[in-house]
């Protein structure tokens, strides 16, 4: 591994480098022009747009870089795009968030943190070596701990960061221990290598299972899957809305990408050939599939059932995002490229609808200083546009046509049925019916119930509305014309080595 290879590899991670550069610049800008918050926002956005542009260049690249540490492949690129898009949206959102702007003295650090989270996640999706996974996970993690505590003066924000820290550090520690066990079993940390060793069948069942479950603890915490989700509601509620939104989309996406790659590459049994094209089998004796089935069912069910009881919209959305993770996990259990593709499609639509709903919640709490569901009464009258938008986002989260959310679920169930997992599919749809109830509770309060006395209309600035529409339009458009999206996702399941 000599220098020119390294340099050549560096060109492959240009997007990440751009973002790193941007965050340094933002930090410096913060030092020199502390007052000019606008500038830093613009800097970040420009950097991110650059990164996005470079990413589009990488769509067709499929190489393993840095001596197998990092994979640059359509799969990674797809998720990087999702992450960068989310980051851009969040950066713009932050511009309108009162609680962020209140911290104008440290606004530079804020953008710095968001960007470094972005970097960490971008590396996460590509990393194909356990130690890389751990490092990138921690990079994303550490920054999120700090970011969720960004509004330091607020008690709940601080508490959120502490809980996130302790829980995260613990989970990643357990994960690390699992990694060490796998290292002990296979003598390597490179996931492809691990797979090679496992294929020789030397690995002992129980140790391997224990190790993989330790890994799942780490992943599960990242994607907030039951029973490793406990931090989620508290942190989501405590953290600034923008950060919550970011965590619920980007961080989840990164976690999923990492998990999917890890399991596919590590545990696939390439010797089994008599399967339908596009599907695969796991190495005999590795019960990861069953584990994930159990986890996903628990996740969606618990997420939905507890969400029924939430009165804080932010917290409600936290639980809803747990449930959503449950649906996405269903895409993994079918063990097929189309299952993965379904998850990826889901993430794209999830990006729009979830960010959208958090954005609206943020705007509203800016004005009415409350996230309690009862304070949403009569919003339909006070601010029609926002209410309708939120309603559409929530309906999309429920998964009703003609919104994009339906397509996400549709793809998932499509692959489940194709894999003849009817029972699981039934559980899934029943869950989506239950979920309807709490989503509709919000809608009901906005439209069906009026406030005791009408407290005037709420207006929002044009930029705010534009950002809203740019999230709303895709949510509707993708619901009817998902041709390219699905095609792109199905192209992007391509990983290094597969």
């Amino acid at each position: 591994m000599n220098t020119e290879i390294i340099l050549q590899n560096l060109s492959l991670i240009a997007p990440e480098l751009i973002v790193v550069a941007t965050l340094c610049v933002v930090l410096l800008a913060h030092l020199v022009a502390r007052k000019n918050t606008q500038l830093m926002m613009l800097l970040s956005v420009t950097g991110l747009l650059n990164a996005l542009y470079l990413l589009t260049g990488n769509i067709h690249v499929t190489v393993s870089a840095f001596s197998g540490m990092l994979s640059i492949d359509p799969f990674a690129t797809f998720f990087k795009i999702v992450i960068v898009l989310a980051t851009i949206a969040v950066v713009l959102m932050s511009r309108f968030s009162d609680e962020i702007n209140a911290e104008h003295t440290t606004i530079g650090e804020y953008y710095f943190l968001v960007l470094s989270m972005c970097v960490g996640m971008m590396f996460m999706v590509g990393s194909s070596n356990l130690i890389m996974m751990y490092l990138t996970l921690e990079l994303a993690g550490l920054t999120s701990y700090v970011a969720s505590g960004f509004t330091r003066k607020a008690k709940d924000s601080s508490e959120a960061s502490l809980k996130y820290l302790l829980y995260g550090a613990f989970s990643s520690g357990v994960m690390l221990y699992g990694m060490s066990l796998i290292y002990g079993l296979t003598g390597t940390l490179d996931i492809a290598g691990i797979n090679r060793v496992l294929m020789q069948g030397s690995a002992n069942g129980w140790a391997l299972i224990a190790a993989s479950i330790f890994l799942i603890v780490g992943f599960g915490y990242k994607i907030s899957a039951v029973p490793f989700h406990y931090w989620t509601p508290d942190v989501y509620e405590g953290a600034p809305v923008t950060i919550t939104a970011f965590l619920s989309v980007a961080s989840k996406a990164a976690g999923f990408a990492m998990m999917m790659r890890a399991f596919k590459v590590m545990f696939i049994d390439s010797s089994v050939t008599n399967l339908p094209a596009g599907t695969w089998a796991l190495i005999h004796g590795v019960h990861v599939q069953q584990v994930i089935v159990v986890i996903s069912v628990m996740t969606m069910t618990l997420g939905n059932l507890v969400a029924l009881w939430q009165d804080n919209v932010k917290r409600l959305l936290a639980y809803s995002s747990i449930a959503q993770a449950g649906y996405m996990l269903l895409g993994l259990v079918v063990l097929s490229n189309d299952g993965f593709a379904a998850v990826m499609v889901y993430f794209v639509v999830y990006l729009f609808m979830n960010l959208g709903s958090f954005y609206v919640v943020m705007l509203i709490s800016n004005k009415i200083k409350s996230e309690h569901i009862d304070s949403y009464r009569g919003l339909g009258k006070r601010t029609p546009l926002l209410s309708v938008a939120l309603a559409i986002f929530l309906i999309s989260l429920t998964g009703l046509p003609p919104t994009a959310g339906f397509i996400g679920k549709w793809m998932i169930f499509l692959s489940l049925i194709n894999a003849k997992m009817v029972l699981i599919a039934v559980i899934g749809v029943i869950n989506s019916v239950i979920s309807l109830y709490y989503y509709v509770r919000v809608i009901r309060n906005m439209f069906l119930r009026d406030e005791n006395e009408f407290s005037g209309t709420i207006t929002f600035s044009l930029p705010q509305q534009i950002l809203l529409l740019s999230l709303l339009v895709p949510t509707l458009y993708l619901g009817l014309f998902f041709n390219n999206l699905v095609a792109f996702a199905q192209y992007s399941v391509k990983m290094v080595g597969f």
């Binding site: 596009g278 009703l400 049925i417 009817v422 069906l448």
Partner: protein
Amino acid sequence: MELKILNIGILTWLTFLPVLGMIIVLLLPKEQKSAIRWTSLFSTLVQVIFAFLLFAKFDRSLGGVNSAATMQFNELFNWINIKSSSWFGIIKIDYYLGVDGISMPMVFLTAIISCIAVISSWNIEKSIKGYFALLLLLDTGMMGVFVSLDFFLFYIFWEVMLLPMYFLIGVWGGPRREYAAIKFFLYTLLGSVLLLLAMLALYFSVSVIDPVTGTKIHTFNMIAMMNPANFDAGSLLAGASTYWRYVAYVAIFIGFAIKVPIFPFHTWLPDAHVEAPTAISVILAGVLLKMGTYGLMRVAFPIFPDAAMYFLYPLAFLGFVNIIYGAFCAMAQKDFKKLIAYSSVSHMGIVILGMAAMNTQGMVGAMLQMFNHGTITAMLFLIVGVIYDRAHTRGLDDFGGLMNKMPGYSGVMVIAFFAAIGLPGLSGFISEAFSFLGAFQTFRWLTIASAFGIVLTAGYMLWTLQRVFLGTLPEKWNGLTDINARELTMLVPLAIIVIALGVYPNLMLDVMNTSANTLVDFVKGSVGLAVGN
């Protein structure tokens, strides 16, 4: 059969005209109340005109049902086309519209009822802009369900209609509107998700030769699904009378049964009806309920003939339960609307029974009953609405002697009531008679038992008539005014239809007849086992 206007197929026009109206309505400032009203009215009126056009041009001799060739006014464009992985195969979804004898009357009905609903909503004042927008959206959803031949498209429209309905009940409804609305929403969604799964299972079980590429691809095309030859060997729903086919059929059936509604899934109906504003009750009873039975005819029967035949008797039995049970429940009601709601349950039971007969008279009777019930019950709800607007109560016992006070009103009412009772010369009679005649040939004793419903119906209807219109007028209603022009304009057309179909049912029958035969022959033929009782 082709019919284009401005080079756009008439069915597309019919389906999306309301959306156009909706957009205009949304663009109008909300102060322009009358403008909003007239826009909505206009768009629905045009829809009615187109419906008449369709009705006139419709070729009575073509069967449709399971043969794409004899579907009429077809519009087939590719909508989604994903070169997918080999596991999914190419995902192709078509924008596929077409009508046959089963859907034609429903399209006609939908157009008329929607138009009348708009008229009857004239005195809505509460955020009228949203109201009409949603009403028109609902219209599109309903129309789409009846014209789409692609299962995916069908499902989309099916779901599109839910949300407007939720809001229309929930925002403009009565005191317990929230409860009714969410109940309606949850019930229907529960049904439709089962429908969704069945649809996906079908998708992967059926594959056809793609005209373009010439390869075998899966399809959502309902008509393709009806051809047993298209089921891949070894797929989930392949074969006949298999466990999974029965499961899928039951799933689909529940999906539709909830809409009909069939006992015991009917409990949302009374609540929804009672709470909904008049126009919405009209649409609910007039069109929405028909979607369930329509779905059974369009989807469940032809795609799962084996299961359909296997579950024929249970179906008929449910029909019987609906008839008798609904009638008894209606008899005990004190609320005018609730009474009519339960009478709907009873009358839809007749449709179910007629369908279960699985022979021509039964099927035709059922179809005609769908149409007639649509018109008659619409009239009844409008009548309730008229009196409710004046008296602000629906208690049956609060009234009496309206016959003298409101003669014009009473005249229309008498027609509606006797039509509901099934009086010869009015439309209800023919359809009920045929349903029973048909059913009797398949299920002798069950039909005799069900036919007793006509006595019960006469019982509660006349009782209501007496309590509300006969006797002496309480003083407090001395101020009541007779029916006004607007209300007449929405009631009279329906009355005319009711009488016309009563005297000369062929107007509708010859539209339905061929398709009914085709359907029956197909279902029976593709199973070949004869049904006894």
